[in-house]
């Protein structure tokens, strides 16, 4: 049977006009993304501290402190202890990942590959998207890039500190 040809403007590709744009359903504002932003070194923690004043919708800013051991948690999933920025108090990665749908790892210097790998695997096995942002000159951050590359589905290497808030805003964090 021959398919029917469209007879109305809104039933064919010509409906991509400015006029027809008025009829797009004006749905509610998309929900915020449950983002966890994790500093992997002291320099990265400073970067995140600078972002805390922004009106984030649901982002949690956390720090991994070198020396915190990687352990095997429930279900054989790797787990690490995280800490709030500017403070002490243990937070478990596994608890922070409950309900999260995006994790951004941030580094400025050499970082523990074990921690990055643990966070990366914990996210992968839970189906959580991962991103990495490494600040600094290529020459100085090679190890951080190397450690994060296998763990971050997207890795941004940059010297522009505006990139992180821009990404988090664009992702509705």
């Amino acid at each position: 049977m021959q398919s029917r040809q469209p007879i109305l403007l809104n039933s064919c590709a010509r409906a991509a006009s400015a006029e027809e744009l008025r009829y797009r359903i004006d749905g509610p504002e998309p929900e915020a993304r449950a983002a966890r932003v994790i500093a992997l070194d002291p320099g990265a923690e400073e970067v995140l501290e600078g972002l805390q004043g922004h009106p984030w919708r649901s982002a949690h800013f956390l720090a991994y402190r070198p020396g915190n051991p990687v352990i095997t948690g429930n279900g054989g999933l790797p787990d690490v202890t995280l800490e709030p920025l500017r403070g002490a108090g243990a937070l478990r990665l596994s608890e922070e990942l409950e309900g999260a749908d995006m994790v951004v790892m941030v580094a400025t210097a050499s970082i523990g590959a074990d921690a990055a790998a643990a966070i990366g695997e914990a996210c992968y096995r839970r189906g959580i998207m991962t991103g990495g942002v490494v600040f600094g000159d290529e020459i100085d951050i090679g190890e951080a890039v190397l450690a994060l590359r296998p763990q971050a589905q997207v890795l941004l290497v940059t010297q522009d500190h505006d990139d992180l808030p821009e990404i988090l805003t664009a992702l509705r964090a």
């Binding site: 010509r14 991509a16 744009l21 991103g131 589905q153 890795l155 290497v157 990404i167 509705r172």
Partner: protein, 428 residues
């Protein structure tokens, strides 16, 4: 997601807009050289950056791009006669040279100097490669001519086409930066297209549908690397350079010619897509050239006698649901170029970026928007020369390589990502 005012800022390119001023700091493609094929040929009407213009080639072979409308009564000079060193208005015979300077007002007395006081806005138009380039900004800021490799290789090694796209320039450009759609929308082309098929890299593409991405700053824009699994301990990298404001190159495949695009705003709801293929070290074969002219690769077929794609919104892009069902095309639209254009046009003339839901694989797009916004603001507020103006920033190449897992593409491919005349491009 962008705030409405930022979406406005980075999409609007008319006169006196921030992004319009940014574009007016670069040489941009205006026409194909074939559009003005000989001295005293018919003038060509065109609109660029929201300005109505006429392109002419005079009796001496000089090119010019001037205001479309006669200073006398506002008549379109497209009706004019191109003869004896200028374009004469068909209404009362006023005549203009390639700079827009009026050189004759027939109604004035013989010795009148009146015409010397009449000048239309005019922009330089120069032929480099198969393209006529213009610079529409302040003459005192005019940069050196463009140095993109595709217009500097010998003429038998390069081919350029152009097509009209019915959307804002930015959503078209973003398609060139967004490598993550390739595994889906263009998956059919890797097997059959004569300008892609046969490359070893295609198998890496088809075997790994979830690439990881790495975005690295460059002096003139960005490099976006997409990596897929290759042999044990190795990754297959496809690296796309973006040079500001709107030049992108597609990573090559095997010994096929390498291709790319320059996205040029016509106005805020339309753009020209200049599409090129070239090979750095050899002439294009007859078969390759014919394939390009037939719309394969990243080129397209045309409505005869125009630069409008044959597949367009008025015929639903010749959607073929059977081909879609058979898996020959993912979207049912034939050809890489129109697969992209059909979807980008469907977004609407200027997509509302306040509604979008980006994901982390869109980081390249997010970063590019930020760079554009910053460059426009820096130019507006501090008169800062934007990235990409320096010809050195334009001497870039795309690359497709297999690297050990522990190597960063930006380090390992330093030499591959810049032009070395006479050397082959890095391609798998």
């Amino acid at each position: 997601m962008l705030k409405p005012e930022i979406n406005e800022l980075i999409t609007r390119t008319g006169p006196r807009t921030a992004m319009g001023e940014l574009f007016r700091r670069y040489w941009i493609p205006a026409l194909l050289a074939e559009e003005l094929p000989e001295n005293d040929c018919p003038p060509v009407r065109l609109k660029l950056l929201g300005e109505r213009l006429i392109a002419i080639r005079d009796s001496a072979g000089q090119y010019g791009l001037i205001d479309e409308f006669c200073a006398h009564r506002g008549v379109s000079l497209w009706f004019g006669r191109n003869e004896d060193g200028g374009l004469r208005c068909a209404y009362h015979g006023w005549k203009y040279d390639v700079t827009g300077q009026c050189v004759d007002v027939p109604s004035e007395p013989e010795d009148s100097v009146f015409c010397s006081k009449v000048k239309l806005t005019g922009y330089p138009l120069v032929k480099i490669g198969d393209v006529l380039w213009t610079y529409m900004g302040d003459p005192s800021e005019q940069p050196p001519p463009p140095e993109f490799e595709w217009v500097h290789v010998p003429s038998d090694q390069t081919y350029t086409s152009k097509r009209w796209q019915e959307s804002n320039w930015l959503q078209a450009l973003e398609g060139g930066i967004d490598s993550s759609h390739v595994s889906w929308l263009h998956s059919g082309g890797l097997k059959d297209d004569p300008l892609f098929k046969g490359a070893k890299g295609n198998q890496y593409n088809l075997n790994d549908m979830k690439p990881y991405f790495e975005v690295a700053d460059a002096d003139g824009g960005l490099y976006i690397g997409a990596r897929r699994n290759a042999e044990e301990g190795h990754y297959y990298w496809r690296i796309t350079p973006w040079v500001m404001p709107s030049f992108t190159m597609v990573p090559p495949r095997g010994d096929h010619p390498v291709h790319g695009h320059f996205w040029v705003p016509i106005d805020d709801e339309n753009c020209w897509v200049f599409t090129f293929d070239y090979h750095p070290t050899r002439a294009l074969t007859d078969d390759e050239l014919q394939a390009m002219k037939d719309g394969y690769g990243v080129h397209n077929k045309y409505v005869p006698g125009t630069y409008r794609p044959l597949q367009n919104k008025d015929n639903d892009y010749m959607m073929d649901r059977d081909a879609q069902k058979r898996g020959e095309t993912f979207s049912g639209v034939w050809g890489i170029a129109m697969q992209d254009a059909s979807l980008q046009e469907s977004m609407g003339p200027v997509v509302d970026r306040t509604k979008e839901r980006l994901v982390s694989t869109d980081t390249g797009i997010i970063k590019a928007r930020l760079k554009l916004r910053k460059a426009a603001e820096e130019l507006r507020d501090h008169d800062a020369t934007p990235p990409g103006v320096d010809p050195a920033h334009q001497r870039v190449r795309s690359a497709a390589v297999v690297l050990p897992e522990d190597q960063a593409f930006i380090d390992a491919c330093q030499d591959d990502l810049v032009v070395t005349p006479g050397s082959k491009h890095a391609s798998v």
